[in-house]
Symmetry: C2
Subunit: 382 residues, 2 copies
C-alpha cells in the first residue's frame, strides 16, 4: 500500500511545480537524478507524483516561511511512496516525509494518508483517551492538568505544590517540562516526594489524581527514569518528544507501561508558513502514532502563536478514527486562563485535557483558584 | 559557569527587543511571568539578559523566516543561563536553548559560548579527526567518501558497488541515509555483504577503506544495529542524528566504540532566516558535542541551499578548539562534482571529508571516475 503525502510547494508555474514534485519523489527515495536510476528501481521505489494543481484560489501566494517569495504561488503535489520504505519506526518515517527536503525552501507537508499496515506497524498510544479516563476515573467530562514549577524550587516545595493541586482535584499534576535532574529538585527525590504527596492527597479526598514526572533525558537515562517513576508508583510521565526522538515514546511505553504526555518543545521549528510539517500532522498524527496518550500544544490566545483553526485541527487529528490506532487526548496549554476553561470546553469538547499552569500561579490564593478551576471542569454545562 | 547564548531577535525597537529578551529568559527557565517568581529563584535560575543592541547596520531588517516582517529590525540579545540547568544531555540542552521559544516567531540562536563544565559533561566525539585518520590511515590529506545507493537495489548489488568504491580507494564507503531495513537490502544482509566486500577489496589493494552502514533506527533497534555492525567488523556508521535524537549518538559510541558520521536529515527545519538555530551551531557545535566524529552537510552549489559562508562557518565550528572536545570532520556533500574536488580542497583545506555520491553514479564508467576522484584527493596540490 502507499503512503500518500500532500506537499504544498512554492513554484512560479505548473511546470516548475511538477519539476519540484518530481525532485522530491527522487530525493526522498533514491537520492539520484532520474537518468541514473534503472527502470526497475524507478517503478518500485521512486515516489509517484499523482497530482499537481494550484493550491487554492488564484492569488494564494506564499509569504514568509523562509521560502522563495518573488512571484511564487502555492501548489498542491500529491506523492505516493511505497509504505514499506518507511519501515516501522518514526525515524525513518520522518526521514521519508521530510528528511533531505527539509534542506530545501518552500516545501510543507500538508497532508498524509496512512496505509493500514503502517498504522499497524507504528501502533500509536497504548492507552489513549479511554485509558487515561480509566486511570483518572474521569468519565464524561474534560480533564484538567496543572504544572509543577518553577525550575529552581526545591523538591519539597514542588511536592507541596503537587499536594495542593491533587487536594483540589486536578486530574493530572505534571512536572514542568524544564524540570529534569537539576540540583534544586533532583529527579529521584522529586519523583518520590511528589508521588507521595499526590497519593496522600488522594487518600484524603478519595480522588484519583495522577502525578506525571518529566521523564525527558538522553539515551538510556530516559528508560532508567521511566522505570524509577513506575517503581515509585507513577502511572505516567511527560516526555519532550522531539529532543529525545519520537521513537523513544514507544520504547518507554513498552518497557514500563506508563501513560505518556508529549510536550512540544522544539516543535516550532517545523511550523513555518511555507516550510516544514503542518502542526496538525506533526503534533496530531505523528505524535499520536509515536505513542503519545496525550499531546500538549500551545492554545490560541496564550503566549504562543497558533490560530484557533490550527488548534481545532490538532484536536481533530488526535481524536479521529485512524485504523487500529487509539485516539489521544489533546492538551491545549500555554497561557490558558483558569476562568476561561468553560469557554474552551464549549469550543473543544470534553475529550480534552486543559493544562492550566502559569495563570494559577499568578493568583493570590492558588488553592482557591485551583478549586474553582476544578469545579468549572466538573460542573456539567447548563 | 554560564551558558551564554546570543539570540537574534526581530523587534520594532529597543524596548520591544528588551522585552522579548526578558521573555525568553523567563520562558526558557521558570515558564512564569516575572511577578510570579520569588526573588531567590529569579536570581538563581532565570536567565540574565546581559546585552541588547541593534544587530548590525541600520537597515539590517528581517526578511522571511516565518517571522514578523512589518517594521521589525534585528537585535542582538545575549542571555546567560546557569549551565547546570542544561544538565548533561542534548535533550535538555536543546530544550534550554530553544524548546518553548521555537513556538514563537522571530528568534534565532546565533551564538553560544560554552562553559567548560558543560563541554566536559557532554564530551563530544570519541575519535574525531585524528581518530578517523588513524582508522583510515589517511594522513596529511583530505578524505573521500562515497554513498551506496539507490534504495531499491539488492544487498548484493549494493555490496558490488561497495567493492568497486573500496577497490578504487575511497576512504569511507557509506550507506545512503535512506537505506534502513527495507526488503530489497535488509540491514543485516547488507551489512555483512558490504563489510565483506570492502574487506576483500582492502586485502587486494592493501588499502584501509571503511564501510559505514546506516545505523538509523528507532529506540533499542539503533543499538542492536550498531552492535551487529560492530560484530560484523565495521568500524563506524551513519546516523540520522535528529530523527533518532542527538543523545543517541553518545549512547551508540559508548556501547560499541563505532565512529559516527552524522547525517543532517530534518535539520533544514531549523534554518530559517529569522527563526531557528544557525546551521554552524546546530551542525557544528551541537552535532559535534553530541558525539559526531564527522558531520555531513549540504555544500554550496549542490542541490541544497547553503551559501559558502555558512559552509565555511560549519567547517570552522567543527574543527575549532573547544575545551576538551575533539575536533570533528566536516563532510560537505549534496551534489559535489567529482572533478571539482581539488577546487574544494583549496577552499576548505585537508581536514575535510568530501562526500561524492550522485555525481559518480552519473558517470558512464563509475569505476574509472572513482579512481580519478581518489587520485585527485591523494595528489598533493602543486
Amino acid at each position: 500500500m502507499d503512503l500518500r503525502v500532500t506537499y504544498r510547494l512554492l513554484a512560479v508555474d505548473g511546470p516548475a511545480a511538477a519539476a519540484r514534485a518530481r525532485d522530491i519523489a527522487l530525493e526522498q527515495t533514491v537520492e539520484l537524478p532520474a537518468d541514473a536510476v534503472s527502470r526497475d528501481v524507478a517503478e518500485r521505489v521512486v515516489g509517484r507524483v499523482e497530482l499537481i494543481e494550484p493550491w487554492g484560489e488564484a492569488g494564494d501566494r506564499g509569504g514568509g516561511g523562509g521560502a522563495g517569495g518573488g512571484g511564487e504561488a502555492r501548489w498542491r503535489a500529491v506523492i505516493a511512496f511505497d509504505a514499506a520504505l518507511a519501515g516501522s519506526d518514526m525515524a525513518q518515517l520522518l526521514n521519508l516525509l521530510f528528511g533531505n527536503i527539509s534542506l530545501k525552501a518552500g516545501i510543507r507537508v500538508a497532508g498524509i494518508d496512512w496505509p493500514p499496515e503502517l498504522l499497524a506497524a507504528l501502533g500509536g498510544p497504548r492507552r489513549g483517551i479511554a485509558g487515561l479516563r480509566e486511570l483518572t476515573g474521569a468519565q464524561g467530562r474534560a480533564l484538567v492538568c496543572s504544572a509543577l514549577k518553577p525550575l529552581g524550587a526545591s523538591a519539597a516545595e514542588i511536592a507541596a505544590r503537587a499536594y495542593q493541586f491533587a487536594r483540589a482535584g486536578i486530574d493530572i499534576v505534571k512536572d514542568d517540562h524544564s524540570l529534569s535532574d537539576q540540583a534544586p529538585a533532583p529527579f529521584r527525590e522529586r519523583v518520590e516526594r511528589c508521588q507521595h504527596a499526590v497519593a496522600r492527597a488522594n487518600r484524603e479526598t478519595g480522588g484519583r489524581s495522577l502525578y506525571f514526572p518529566n521523564l525527558t533525558a538522553g539515551g538510556a537515562r530516559l528508560l532508567e527514569r521511566a522505570d524509577f517513576a513506575r517503581r515509585a508508583g507513577c502511572q505516567g510521565g511527560v516526555v519532550n518528544a522531539l529532543p529525545v526522538g519520537l521513537d523513544a515514546l514507544r520504547a518507554v511505553a513498552a518497557a514500563t507501561g506508563l501513560a505518556l504526555m508529549s510536550h512540544p518543545a522544539l516543535a516550532g521549528v517545523f511550523f513555518h508558513a511555507d516550510h516544514g510539517i503542518a502542526p496538525e500532522l506533526l503534533l496530531g498524527d505523528l505524535f499520536r502514532l509515536a505513542g503519545s496518550d496525550a499531546v500538549i500544544y500551545p492554545n490560541v490566545g496564550g503566549r504562543f502563536t497558533f490560530p484557533e483553526a490550527t488548534c481545532a485541527a490538532i484536536n481533530a487529528r488526535l481524536r479521529a478514527p485512524l485504523g487500529p490506532v487509539r485516539p489521544a487526548f489533546p492538551v491545549p496549554a500555554g497561557g490558558i486562563e483558569a476562568d476561561r476553561v468553560p469557554h474552551w470546553i464549549g469550543r473543544y469538547g470534553t475529550d480534552t485535557i486543559f493544562l492550566v499552569g502559569g495563570s494559577l500561579y499568578a493568583q493570590p490564593d492558588v488553592a482557591a483558584a485551583t478549586r474553582r478551576l476544578v469545579d468549572a471542569v466538573r460542573t456539567p454545562p447548563p
